[in-house]
Amino acid sequence: MDSFISTFHIDWKIIIAQSINFVIVLAVLYFLLVKPLKKLMSERTGTIEGGLNDAKANAELLANTKKEYDQVISNARNEAHNIFQEGKKDAEAKKAEMMEKAKKEVDNMIINGKKVLESEKTKIIDEAKQEIVSLVVLATEKLLETHPDKEFEDKSVNKLKKI
């Protein structure tokens, strides 16, 4: 043992000093490096895991919202289609009704027009007749003035009366 100690110069004081060195290194590394780093890393892992969970929840929420959105859009589309179809039906019925009404109005207008035309025609013919009579009377008067003949006068008067 003595030769071992003298060969390697084993010095208990140096062994204690080296032990203290190691204890210092252990404490420094643990309290200044390993512990804070591990704490920070675990916090970061927690944050990342939380973020991933949030992202997963958000993705699920998004998928559900998309589903709801699709459902709402589909319902709205169906509703719009129904409204459109109903509107179309109503419009067609109204159109038919209006057409019928217009047709009736046109018919009425035609009938009234015809009536007016008839009355105008009769009036014009009467007026023409009156005109012709007055012209004939005038012409006969002129003739009688130029040909004072009783027989001719009677004949002409009779003819005029016939008119």
Binding site: F8, I16, V28, L29
Partner: protein
Amino acid sequence: MNTEQATTESTLYAESIGHIGSFTITNALLTSWVVVFIIIIIAIVVKTKLKKIPKGIQNIFEILIEGAEGLCDQVTGNRAITNKAFPIVFAIFVFVLLNNWIGILPIGGFGLIQMSEHGKMFIPLFRSGTADINGTLPLAIMSVIGANVFGIISIGVWKTINKYVNLKALGSIFTKIKKDPGILMTAPIMFAVGILELVGEFAKIASLSFRLFGNVFAGEVLLVSMGAIMAYVLPTPFLLLEVFVGLIQAFIFAILTLVYYTISSMDHEEEHDEKEEHSKGELKEAH
């Protein structure tokens, strides 16, 4: 005028470079102090620059710690043991590694010239702390004692003591002799195995300390020898080799410590009992 040239000699022990009272300061101890100083500086720098989003040196240490923990998990097979043993194992690794590397730094020109019985001697200022048995022995002692303390914490005082002084085996002679007379043979053997385990603990200290000391000291001697043959050119490849050896030795020391911690945290009695019950069950099933 004295023109005698100072000679360099590789000694098995660290050379004295000064005294504080009766306390001798060796070049290996000085290197260890430098290592401690460097580690304190690095740790303070990292601590002050810690950010949630890592950058630069923090990144390096995060990768290092994460990788080292993964490696420790492979050895222990249990995250709880890793978490308890990791700070000690990591500290051993860093301390031994820096000691190994600073010892082989090509700054051999810094030193003192002292007079000895062989004339003028050049004493280098830096010698790896692990190239001195006074540096490796305390590490090995702390490693082995720490493993046993860890064992006591993990499995209890009684079971840890029984590993070395197997009183339980001796006691079982009286409790199990009627059921199993063969216990008269096995119990003393178990007790002797316990004593061997105790001797094994001292062997662990010796093997850990001398392996590290031997490898690092041999590396330094090799570098000095190569430098004496052809300075600058010849030592360079060996210097690179020693960098690798330094890393490997630090790794071996740390991993062996972790293995001792893992072994000491296991309850062999429990395992033995489980195996016995299992084999009894198998026998019953066979019948």
